[in-house]
């Protein structure tokens, strides 16, 4: 894994062609640099363009304006350096859980024994070892999402892009996966762009918290957060009890509300 590659987003904007000549402007000009090793959380109301931004960074589509560069190289298509955790787990039902997790190294031609070892490490980490020979559709939603996370981590991407990965989970599963994700991030030091519509999740996880305005999306708040850094040796409840934590949550919430269209509309 290389941890010296930053993500530079330069004048990025996107308008979806809807065939009516007008189109939907989903993203307004975004300028942003994500430093290597940062855990960037992007919050914003639903429909504001968060997924659009993530898909542009992933290389799934071409931006209407501007560009994304990773370590100086222009992003034109998806690549193994940028792992994506989709909102819906995109697992392959014709493979076992283990084969799904091993898929990245297998595609790159890593020897069977080696990739098995890496996959096993991450299966252990997300607690799915006992389900390795099952098919994805035999797992619960939370387990499927953990499987997808293990699959992305096994492939050791420089940058991990996560689109509301815990959005469909209940509170308990979500909090546990948040803890696990932080542990993994501290252990691997990869760069993370994490999208969420939960203010608490953004402040809790990020080293940097951003807020996007409603469509067309613009960044309206960009703050450092320090609660997830390795030095902070506090558990989740202690962190959430810190006055500074509550303060940042307030500021982020305020930023989102300020940008929200008035209820009359």
């Amino acid at each position: 894994m290389r941890h010296d590659r930053d993500v530079r987003i330069d004048g990025l904007a996107h308008t979806f062609d809807t065939g009516d000549g007008e189109g939907v402007r989903a993203l307004d000009t975004i300028d942003l640099t994500i430093e290597p090793g940062q855990f960037v959380c992007l919050a914003g109301p639903s429909g504001c363009g968060k997924t659009t931004l993530l898909r542009l960074v992933a290389g799934f589509m071409e931006p209407s304006e501007g560009e994304v560069r990773v370590g100086g190289d222009l992003v034109t298509k998806p690549s193994a350096e940028r792992g994506v955790v989709f909102q819906q787990p995109m697992l392959y039902p014709w493979m076992t859980v283990r084969d799904n997790v091993e898929l990245g190294p297998k595609l790159r031609g890593v020897k069977a024994a080696d990739r098995r070892e890496t996959a096993q490490r991450f299966l252990d980490m997300v607690g799915l070892s006992d389900f390795a020979e099952r098919r994805p559709y035999e797992l619960s939603g939370g387990m499927q999402q953990r499987c997808q996370i293990a699959r992305v981590l096994t492939n050791e991407p420089d940058i991990i892009l996560m689109d509301e990965p815990f959005g469909a989970l209940d509170a308990l599963t979500r909090e546990r996966l948040q803890d696990e994700l932080l542990e993994i991030w501290r252990a691997t030091g990869s760069t993370v762009l994490f999208i969420t519509h939960s203010v608490d999740e953004a402040v809790f996880l990020g080293t940097r918290v951003m807020v996007m305005s409603p469509r067309p999306g613009r960044i309206v708040l960009d703050e450092r957060a320090v609660f997830s850094t390795p030095e902070k040796n506090l558990d989740a409840d202690e962190i959430r009890a810190l006055p500074a934590y509550a303060e940042l949550v307030d500021r982020v919430r305020h930023a989102i509300h300020q940008t929200e269209p008035s209820p009359s509309r």
């Binding site: 992933a58 799934f60 298509k77 998806p78 690549s79 193994a80 940028r82 792992g83 994506v84 989709f86 819906q88 995109m90 697992l91 392959y92 039902p93 014709w94 898929l103 990245g104 595609l107 790159r108 607690g127 006992d130 389900f131 099952r134 098919r135 994805p136 559709y137 035999e138 797992l139 619960s140 939603g141 939370g142 387990m143 499927q144 699959r151 992305v152 492939n155 991407p157 469909a168 989970l169 209940d170 509170a171 308990l172 599963t173 546990r176």
Partner: protein, 297 residues
């Protein structure tokens, strides 16, 4: 899917398998009478009514022979028997073939026709769905061919390939491949874009994306297409055997009918129907074996 939080509170283990865990297999609903029992009773009832009508002499047996006569004809058609009662000359089954040989001949024809349909139809569908201009150019012709009743062009095939089996193979091939091709196209187009995006983010090249994601994701639809094609080919072959169809189960049914050997004709009709159902069940079984995720993911 959302995890039920109730199930999770109760198990605060260390690495905490707090998810509800793997899903239990779906249970069949056990309400109401057993459908198989009902079906068996209806079948027995139908045969009883048939038997009653026949034995009361309400209908001339040439039109409606009794169940017993049909059974006897069925048994005799699978044996070497005297050519007529009291005559010494023996004959194999009907028209020198046992009934099962007639059936096998028809099955072999659809095997060849549908087999060729798969070999051509699946790759064609994949190419049509992935190479835009091929799809644009070829799709109208495949749709046209599919809209044609095969018996409408059997005459042309006989003119080209003669009255023997070759024209029948062609007929069944032309009947079988359009549904297979169209199902394959539908399968490819139905694959979620992010299923493919995901494999690219794992490092796949285009060929790997096709073999590890596109093909397996399309498989259930392809099998459904083969099922449709097989059913269609079966009805087609039976009808096509009106011309020079001995041996062949359709040929036998037709030939026997024209000679007023109604018991054997009815026996053939039953065999044809049961075979169609069996083929369908077989393909469903294949699907459940090779694509067990279908309908679950």
């Amino acid at each position: 899917m959302t995890d039920t939080s109730a199930a999770q509170v109760s198990a605060p283990a260390a690495h905490a398998e707090r998810d509800p865990g793997p899903r239990p297999p779906r249970r069949k609903s056990s309400s109401g009478p057993n459908p198989w029992l009902v079906r068996a009773l209806v079948l027995v009832g139908t045969i009883a009514v048939w038997w009653l009508v026949a034995s009361l002499g309400l209908v001339n047996p040439v039109y409606l022979p009794s169940p017993g006569a049909v059974w006897d004809a069925f048994v005799q058609a699978n044996r070497t028997h005297p050519i007529a009662p009291g005559v010494d000359r023996m004959i194999r089954g009907e028209y020198n073939y046992y009934l099962w040989e007639h059936l096998l001949a028809s099955l072999q024809r659809i095997g060849i026709g549908v087999g060729a349909g798969i070999l051509v139809g699946v790759p064609l569908g994949l190419v049509m769905a992935t190479v835009r201009w091929v799809g644009i150019v070829v799709e109208p012709y495949v749709n046209f061919l599919r809209a044609l009743p095969p018996l409408g062009y059997i005459g042309l095939l006989i003119a080209w390939f003669g009255i023997g089996d070759v024209s029948k193979y062609w007929l069944l091939f032309l009947a079988a491949f359009p549904p297979i091709t169209l199902a394959t196209i539908g399968g490819v187009r139905g694959v979620r874009e992010d299923m493919v995006n995901a494999v690219y983010t794992l490092g796949a090249n285009r060929r790997q994306a096709l073999t590890t994601v596109m093909f397996p994701a399309t498989l259930p639809q392809v099998i459904t297409g083969i099922r449709v094609a097989t059913g269609f080919a079966w009805t087609t072959v039976v009808a096509a055997e009106l011309n020079n169809g001995i041996p062949g189960i359709g040929g036998l049914a037709y030939q026997a009918g024209t000679e007023l050997k109604t018991p054997i004709t009815i026996a053939c009709i039953i065999v044809i129907g049961v075979t169609a159902l069996a083929l369908d069940a077989l393909i469903k079984l294949v699907e459940r074996t090779v694509a067990p995720w279908h309908g679950k993911a």
